[in-house]
């Protein structure tokens, strides 16, 4: 609770209009370009529409029923969870550990490592996807050739369940790893050195220092990275999915974000896509509420 308690009541009224003044730019943008489309999508989810015809047919909850009855929906939700898990491990857990290591374990080459790790982040995922399609061609690409030297035949990853999600996650991670890493590093770097040194002098092992000191003290950033990896990671994976597999093979690489796009802009089933988007958002909002209620309390903000 950051409410400044030393102030008398009148100040709070004054705060109101100041607060709204500061919030208006963001608020207006969000209302016009986020909330309004969202409401419109809710509206669309009750209709059968193919994007262009002037008439929309009202179908009530039929779209929702169709989505919930469709076995593909569950496959896609499953994929979405797998993506989330992979992305979190690669882009939240791993950079956390590595940032810690660079800050407190290594003493040389730090700046070089940091710079090099961030480099792929500046490149668009469209470029990344085209690049990796070439590099990871299972028959003729450089990776396949090198593996061939060791007698290993590269699996056709874009046509194999499991492999396809893994490779697409890795391609996406190639881009987002760097940013998360830098943010976490800055946060860890900002932890007071005295506390760390004191712990070291007390012979506390590094892994303990990580879990008991570093993690809690950087948790404000940690939770940020956690949440945006989920929210943005899923949106970022969209690009490689669209460029390389278009959700295939047989929906093995589609997640809810891609599938909503696919339904609307490839199959022109606008109502169905809208229902899927709303259901997805409902789930995420639920998770977000849980985060607000439980996690925010546990986060360390200075004092």
């Amino acid at each position: 609770m950051e409410a400044i308690q030393t102030f008398a009541k009148p100040k709070i009224i004054k705060d109101h209009w100041k607060a709204y003044l500061l919030l208006i730019p963001s608020l207006v943008t969000f209302v016009l370009f986020m909330f309004w489309p969202f409401l419109y999508t809710v509206y669309l989810s009750f209709f059968d529409w193919n994007m262009v015809s002037p008439t929309k047919e009202f179908v009530g909850l039929q779209n929702y029923i169709d989505v919930l009855k469709d076995p593909i929906t569950y496959k896609i939700f499953c994929n979405t969870l797998i993506y989330m898990a992979l992305l979190l491990i690669i882009n939240c857990a791993v950079p956390y550990v590595l940032a810690f290591v660079i800050d407190l374990v290594l003493s040389r080459f730090k700046n070089f490592y940091k710079g090099a790790i961030f480099l792929p982040s500046v490149i668009s995922l469209v470029v990344g996807s085209i690049l990796f399609t070439w590099l990871l061609n299972p028959v003729s690409g450089p990776a396949a050739i090198i593996l061939g030297w060791f007698g290993i035949e590269m699996p056709v990853w874009s046509k194999l369940d499991g492999w396809v999600i893994t490779v697409l996650s890795l391609i996406t991670s190639w881009k987002i790893f760097g940013y998360n890493f830098i943010i976490l590093f800055a946060s860890i770097n900002g932890i007071s050195r005295e506390v760390i040194e004191a712990a070291r002098l007390d012979d506390i092992p590094l892994w303990r220092i990580f879990f008991k000191i570093v993690l809690p003290m950087s948790s404000s950033t940690g939770i940020y990275v956690f949440i945006i990896t989920i929210a943005q990671g899923l949106q970022y994976v969209f690009t490689p999915i669209k460029v390389i597999t278009q959700g295939g093979p047989n929906y093995s690489s589609a997640n809810t974000i891609y599938h909503a796009y696919h339904e609307a802009f490839v199959l022109y089933r606008t109502g169905h896509s809208a229902a899927l988007s709303i259901l997805t958002m409902a789930i995420f909002l639920l998770l977000l509420i849980l985060e607000f209620k439980f996690v925010e309390r546990g986060i360390h903000y200075e004092n």
């Binding site: 950051e2 409410a3 400044i4 030393t6 709070i12 109101h16 100041k18 607060a19 709204y20 500061l22 919030l23 730019p25 963001s26 608020l27 969000f30 016009l32 370009f33 909330f35 489309p37 969202f38 999508t41 590595l98 660079i102 374990v105 003493s107 080459f109 700046n111 940091k114 710079g115 790790i117 480099l119 792929p120 500046v122 490149i123 668009s124 469209v126 990344g128 085209i130 690049l131 690409g141 190639w174 830098i182 943010i183 800055a186 770097n189 007071s192 050195r193 950033t221 949440i227 945006i228 929210a231 943005q232 949106q235 809810t256 974000i257 909503a260 995420f284 977000l288 607000f292 200075e302």
Partner: protein, 274 residues
């Protein structure tokens, strides 16, 4: 500080491998951009070209007004960045230092915008912009992107790590919020603001899905749209030219990062109390 040198060495090894994986594709891309297409197909591993050529870059520069496209991209990216950073900073400040009705609800709503899939916002936004007559213009690309919850989120997290005691001192002296914002809070969250700004710039610079809907004439294109002109599933992608375009696209964000690196990895004084 007793660090086992072997541990140090193995960690270094981990980083070397990591960096190799991260950088190799880029080196490959740059190398490939200087090779003729036939060569790229047939001598796959030879990514450092023996006979470098500028033909891919030539093809790009002669077929499109690259300078104009770069300017478009820069305007859009810079515009979006400035607007997003400013609105995010102001909003974050309000959420952290001011108390008002509906604060938590509003914050929750703001953060929830991060989860709205863009398939949801694409067409309605296009309709709105078309009604105002802003299709095929830089404003059309920028308008829906004046604010971003991601920025608000990070800057807020950063502001919350500032000890309230600092602010209390200022408030006791009856210094207005404006000055507090400007002279106390802003300098302390500079790393967060700068890294947010850089990230927004990079994202806006590379953005594809929204601009491709809004922009129509080639002269208004941005670099990612220009890249699409060399990619064709039907006729086969001209991979080497695509790499040349990608390299050109990479240069500005890269330079920006190298320049601003210090701010991001900025050193904090241990508690920020000056």
């Amino acid at each position: 500080m007793k660090t086992n040198p072997l541990i140090g060495l193995s960690w270094h090894l981990v980083f070397i491998v990591l960096i190799f994986i991260l950088l190799f594709p880029i080196i490959f891309a740059v190398g490939t951009s200087f090779r003729p297409l036939e060569d790229a197909y047939n001598n796959v591993l030879q990514f450092i070209p023996l006979h470098p050529t500028f033909e891919n870059y030539e093809a790009f520069f002669t077929s499109l007004d690259v300078a104009r496209i770069m300017m478009n991209t820069f305007f859009i990216a810079a515009g979006i960045t400035i607007f997003k950073v400013v609105t995010s900073f102001l909003a974050a400040y309000a959420f952290v230092y001011l108390d008002f009705k509906g604060k938590n609800l509003l914050y929750f709503l703001f953060i929830s915008t991060m989860f709205i899939p863009f398939a949801v916002t694409m067409i309605p936004n296009y309709l709105v912009l078309s009604d105002i007559g802003l299709t095929d213009s830089v404003w059309g690309v920028m308008l829906p992107q004046f604010a971003d919850a991601v920025g608000i989120f990070l800057i807020r997290q950063s502001m919350k790590t500032i000890p309230p005691s600092l602010i209390e001192v200022a408030k006791v002296d009856s210094i207005g919020h404006w000055l507090i914002m400007k002279d106390i809070v802003l300098p302390l969250v500079k790393p967060a603001v700068t890294s947010t700004g850089i990230w927004f710039f990079i994202l806006a610079w590379n953005e594809y899905v929204w601009p491709v809907l809004i922009l129509k004439n080639v002269e208004n294109f941005t670099l990612p749209l220009a890249l699409q002109m060399y990619i064709s599933s039907e006729g086969g992608t001209n991979f080497t030219v695509a790499m040349a375009v990608s390299v050109i696209t990479m240069i500005i964000p890269l330079t920006l990062y190298l320049f601003f690196q210090r701010y991001i990895i900025g050193t904090f004084t241990s508690s920020g109390i000056k």
